[in-house]
């Protein structure tokens, strides 16, 4: 169903979306490149790890985070509900195409468009880092090494939000009704749990907050992000460097260990992957949710009264 695919692709690649992606990614790259913050010349690996961890955070929160999640949510929630509200779906479904074909063409158009936006975002991020960072070749190579991990994670984000958005869009009569729950989820991944965690940490109840793993979507996505990075060598760094990922993504945790093993003069703790729920289990559950959402959408659209 080329014509619906093409129209959905065009709607996804609106100039406003492209500008937002470019601006946000360029800003992310600029912040990364400008914020080295070393007073002495660090060792190569330490330096690279520091930049990489900040790059991971920028990708997790900005490029494949707030920007990608919001764009996918906005487009997927309007896929059917937008046409229902505008009244155009009534004509669309009276043309000789099955409803499943129409929905499939729309989903493919959206995924293709969002993929282009994701690649654009990551490309601009790297270009911005290179332009503003003046990194040497080995650092650039190290930074680029994780690009496939970001792409895989981007697709997890894209499929999760699009599947939920499409499902809500098939049920709701207005785009905004379908969009609101998705925006709440974005906040649940990128904002609220972190605020709760920091607040509880400051009040001395940090251990309690990090134990609510089943509903901590920030932890779920943080773990999946770490899993993607693990496929390409993992996230490395000193405890200090990894602290930011512990606080912002809950992907790492600190465990007390024999000082001889840590070989640290100042601490008897080690920062390790936070695998209370193994990342692969989380991934499987989310993939199942994605499948359920898409299958439900097709079932609903086939029986929907328009």
């Amino acid at each position: 169903m080329k014509v619906i695919f093409k129209r959905t692709l065009e709607e996804t690649l609106k100039i406003s979306s492209i500008i937002i992606v470019i601006a946000a990614s360029a800003l992310g790259g600029y912040i990364l490149a400008r914020n080295s913050g070393y007073s002495t010349v660090p060792a190569f690996q330490y330096y690279l790890n520091g930049i990489l961890i900040r790059q991971h955070v920028v990708v997790f929160f900005l490029v494949n985070g707030a920007v990608l999640m919001t764009i996918v949510s906005s487009i997927s929630s309007g896929l059917i509900a937008g046409e229902v509200h505008d009244g155009t779906l009534r004509i669309l479904i009276t043309k000789p195409n099955s409803r499943s074909t129409i929905l499939m063409a729309k989903i493919l158009g959206m995924i293709t468009g969002c993929s282009i936006l994701m690649f654009l975002g990551l490309t601009v991020l790297y270009i911005s880092e290179l332009v503003f960072g003046n990194f040497d070749g080995n650092i650039v190579k190290g930074l680029l090494h994780y690009l496939p991990a970001y792409i895989i994670y981007g697709y997890i984000v894209m499929f999760f939000f699009s599947s939920l958005g499409v499902l809500l869009s098939c049920v709701a009569k207005r785009k905004v009704i379908a969009l609101l729950p998705l925006l709440v989820i974005v906040i649940m991944i990128l904002g609220l749990p972190i605020i709760v965690r920091i607040t509880m940490e400051l009040s001395g109840n940090g251990g309690m907050a990090s134990k609510v793993y089943a509903v901590d979507m920030n932890y779920h996505f943080g773990s999946m992000f770490r899993w993607c990075c693990d496929l390409f060598g993992g996230i490395h760094g000193t405890s200090n460097q990894l602290d930011i990922t512990s606080i912002l993504m809950n992907a790492f945790s600190t465990m007390t260990i024999d000082m001889d093993l840590t070989r640290s003069d100042s601490s008897s703790s080690l920062t390790v992957a936070n695998d209370v729920i193994p990342a692969i289990y989380i991934l499987i559950v989310y993939l199942l949710l994605i499948c359920i959402n898409y299958v439900s959408s097709f079932i609903i659209i086939r029986k929907k009264n328009v």
Partner: protein
């Protein structure tokens, strides 16, 4: 293959506790133009939406040329212009029709050709590059008709094509429909409130009220009834007049007057005059009325007793 192009069998559609269409049976024969009439909320649009597959019946089923309702095969032969067509706000007329054509399965070249044909046919060429959403109501109706015709359907469903239009635009739309029907030999189901307009183009009339089909008859059969004379008579002795007419004419009594309904109006008048003259009666009133489709519609809808003839009444 069924002899009917559209069949609805015992179709019921409910919305919660409200029954919009109740056990409806409709059979449309190819090549005929059907008028689908009824008051607001009678179930016309719901029935059309069920045929088009935008609504699914709660009970019953239907077929379009033997294909299940809402199947791509059924939609291929159907063209639909809803009462209120919504257009994409970012598309101009030519883009919209091209989009509809490609949606309907036409190749790019065919779509361009067909779009241009319809722009000519509906006199929209000079507005081709304007946004459809900003068109006047009359022009939007034309675009809506054009998109319904874009894939050369065999059956056309037009829901209130003349609603909210001024008389000139109404006539223009009806002339276009008439022309299309003649040129393309279409089966058409057209709904409207304005029966006098429909009378000129339909072969068959289907009346619906409160979700029930209350009249389903060929127009010639109905017109015989509609055009039969109604004669209101009052004499000094109505009983004697009726007795001498000896039951040859159908009649009812209305406020002391005799209301005859007959197709043999001339003979009835002669008989009455002859009886009045021979029996020395005084003729107080002799008033002829012609029952139009519009008046019949009103009578049926208002639940008044209408003349029974060979009109099938399914209520």
């Amino acid at each position: 293959m069924s002899e009917y192009c559209i069949e609805l069998n015992n179709v019921t559609k409910t919305f919660g506790k409200f029954t919009a269409v109740d056990n409806v049976n409709i059979k449309l024969e190819p090549g005929k133009v059907y008028g689908f009439v009824g008051p607001n909320g009678a179930g016309k649009s719901t029935t059309m939406a069920i045929i088009m597959g935008t609504l699914f019946p709660t009970k019953g089923n239907g077929k379009v040329f033997g294909h299940p309702l809402a199947s791509p095969e059924a939609l291929k032969v159907l063209g639909y212009s809803p009462e209120f067509t919504s257009f994409y706000s970012d598309m101009n007329c030519i883009e919209y029709l091209y989009y509809m054509a490609t949606l309907a399965g036409l190749s790019s070249d065919e779509a361009i050709k067909r779009t241009n044909e319809l722009l000519d046919q509906f006199d929209l060429k000079q507005h081709a590059n304007r946004r459809v959403a900003k068109f006047s109501t009359g022009m939007k109706k034309k675009v809506s008709l054009a998109q319904a015709m874009i894939h050369r359907p065999k059956v056309l469903l037009l829901d209130e094509p003349t609603a909210n239009l001024d008389p000139t635009s109404r006539q223009e739309i009806l002339d276009t429909v008439r022309k299309m029907v003649e040129e393309e030999h279409l089966t058409v189901l057209i709904s409207s409130h304005v029966l006098t307009e429909l009378e000129t183009i339909i072969n068959h009339v289907i009346m619906i009220d409160h979700g029930h089909i209350i009249l389903d008859a060929p127009i010639h059969e109905a017109q015989e009834k509609f055009k039969q004379g109604i004669l209101m008579v009052d004499t000094s002795n109505n009983d004697q007049l009726l007795s001498e007419l000896n039951g040859r004419y159908e009649y009812t009594l209305e406020e002391g007057n005799i209301r005859f309904a007959t197709v043999e109006m001339e003979q009835l008048k002669k008989d009455i005059v002859s009886i009045v003259f021979n029996s020395q009666l005084t003729l107080n009133m002799l008033k002829e009325e012609v029952l139009s489709l519009d008046s019949l519609y009103k009578q049926i809808m208002e639940g008044e007793k209408s003349d029974e003839g060979n009109i099938q009444k399914n209520a």
